[in-house]
């Protein structure tokens, strides 16, 4: 393809290309170079090899952070999809006051994660939250100490996140459900297929594009989770709910340990690439190949 073909489009794209190269690629290279130094408060070129990575993988805290992001990622994604789909199906039953329910379920999504975090922090606080209220109503057997229990705290974070995200998935799914042709429903009822069976085995596969969209959007939210945890638990109790993003931010700012922060962010970057690469390969290479064939 000659260089001057679509020259106007190429010129228009130039600023974007320059910005991507300097900001994204440049910063990644910069981070990698300085992750090989023992930079503390300010970046200094003091080469120490892969010491920072070595130290990173020996950190108990980093292990906890990585484990947490997997738990969070799995529970949040699956929870949002299941609850979102169920809500969409329920709303799809031509109920009265549909728009009211839709608003209620979608409303949490309009809030910032910080607000969600604070709300759930108060609800789940054992000394003045839900547990306390239940005790005052005489139900002293009631126990809800997830937020202060180091084994369960990460699931408390997941609950808050699902509460916020499920409504969004619901709207996506509902849009999909509304796009299903009436004739399909008619033929299904003529065949006498049970309603729940038709939803799971017929309708759900038809909603595949919606599910994929939802998963992509949710997954992007998983990697960058930071504000929710900061507001809800600040990574506590101890560091039981810390995440890789928090680890990086902490080392950047409060700990004045730039080298370590760069090393951790490079590892985060590599893991995201590992997850995205097969998908990108399929999307941009294999699909084109089949399409051209």
């Amino acid at each position: 393809m000659p260089f001057y073909r679509n020259i106007a489009a190429k010129i228009a794209l130039l600023p974007m290309i320059v910005i991507s190269l300097t900001v994204f690629v440049g910063c990644i290279i910069y981070s990698f170079v300085y992750s090989l130094t023992n930079s503390k408060l300010v970046p200094v070129m003091n080469y120490v090899g892969f010491d920072q990575y070595d130290r990173l993988f020996k950190q108990r805290k980093w292990d906890v952070a990585v484990e947490n992001i997997f738990i969070y990622g799995f529970v949040f994604t699956v929870g949002c999809l299941i609850i979102g789909f169920l809500l969409a199906v329920l709303i799809d039953q031509k109920i009265r006051g549909e728009s009211l329910f839709r608003t209620i379920f979608l409303y949490p999504y309009a809030m910032s994660f910080v607000v969600t975090g604070l709300v759930w922090k108060w609800v789940l606080n054992p000394t003045f939250g839900l547990e306390n209220s239940m005790h005052m109503w005489g139900m002293t057997w009631f126990e809800l100490d997830w937020l202060v229990n180091r084994d369960l705290a990460i699931y408390a974070v997941c609950i808050a996140a699902v509460w916020q995200g499920a409504g969004f998935v619901m709207v996506l799914m509902l849009a999909g459900l509304r796009g299903i042709d009436e004739d399909i429903w008619k033929s299904l009822s003529i065949e006498g297929v049970a309603k729940w069976k038709s939803y799971i085995f017929v309708i759900l596969p038809m909603l595949r594009p919606m599910v994929v969209t939802a998963i992509v959007l949710i997954a992007a939210g998983v990697v960058k989770v930071y504000d929710l945890i900061l507001a809800l638990t600040s990574g506590g109790p101890g560091y039981a709910t810390t995440t890789p993003a928090m680890y990086v931010m902490e080392n950047f700012f409060s700990r004045a340990n730039l080298g370590q922060a760069f090393a951790a962010s490079i590892i985060m970057f590599i893991s995201v690439v590992c997850i995205l690469a097969p998908w990108a390969f399929y999307e941009f290479y294999l699909r084109n190949k089949y399409a051209n064939n």
Partner: protein, 425 residues
Amino acid sequence: MSIYLKKGRKIMKKIFSILLTIFIPLSFTNVSKAGSHMEAEVIHWWTSGGEQAAISEFAKAWEEMGNTWIDTAITGGDNARGTTVNRIIGGNPPTAAQFNVSKQFVDLVEQGLLQSLEEVASAEGWRDFIYPPELIETCEFEGEFYCVPVNIHSWQWMWINNDVYKKVGLPVPQTFEEFLAGAPKIQEAGIIPLALGGQGWQESGMFDVVASSIMGFPLMQSIYRDKDLDAFRDGRFESVLNTYRELNQFTDEGSPGRLWNDTTAMVIEGKAAMQVMGDWARGEFAVAGKEAMVDYSCVIPGKEKYVALGGDVFVFPKNDDPKVKDAQLAMASMMVNQTVQAKFNNAKGSLPMRLDVDTSAADACMQMGLDLIQNPDAIMRESDDWNTPAFTAAWGDIISEFRNDPNYTVAQVMDDLEGVLTSGL
């Protein structure tokens, strides 16, 4: 080639610092007046009521000299320090910036990014009046002053609600052992014996108070400063860990994540008996209208009593503009001024950094600190005077995890702490 590399690195540094600055929550309060000699922008994190009153004493004194004070208050020490560093690296440094009495700013000195204050320090004889002399050590690098200590805050306090102890019929405890002996009785009375906010800095702060009161400062020094593994392994540090774990049985389950002032409020209201916290807690009692030694007791725990040398300093980043340097030296001289020191520390509730300051407004607790600090043997340094923030944070992580995870054994903790001691962080 190397020019391009250098340029590229400079640009990258700029971009990096801009990106960082974007992610830091900033709150600017600009107060500017035209027609004055010198202009100074000061970054600090004093945003609560009492703190604001204190920093405005500096601002007032500065403006009385006919100068302009640009106040850049940023909530949270981490954020404020991050902003300062980013602005220095980004080439837009403030005139002055707050740090703690610690090694937080050592890198800045080593990179030659801070203005030496030696000119004014030797002219005014800072080395003669700054007290205790340990504060000089914090600020002096290769014989030159690079920071101005402005106050002393000590962690070494137990804040005790007297009514609680009266109610259960026990004397006010003077040591952690006495506190532990009385704690079950307080618990039976339906009161939380130990109020502790479960945030890392509060947990490790209390740990150091327990450590110094049980094993004494000399041993602490050989562990934290000299990294002496024999001292670390001689059994006394283990007993500190055990006592700390015992103390933690007497906290409540609402502890994780609680702010220090909410925790102090529990002691003030009599929901809890005792909190270990720095002397800034006194302000909370004062605001609640409580009287020292009547409604509440302040106790420096242990047989040997120490006052820790925490506190704040101001540093002055280098600037190409010679006018800025003049302003910086003038401000440094103003901050150590006797009258300014008296006004500032009375507002802040901290101890002044020189002895010849009028402290007649001090209450019983502050007086205790003032008396104690005159004895050089009672002066205690903190871990962050010798260690980098990365070290103290790694140490604090383990202490916090030890507090929160009952399965984390003392033996494991000892091994992990030894790992930090030998890490060279």
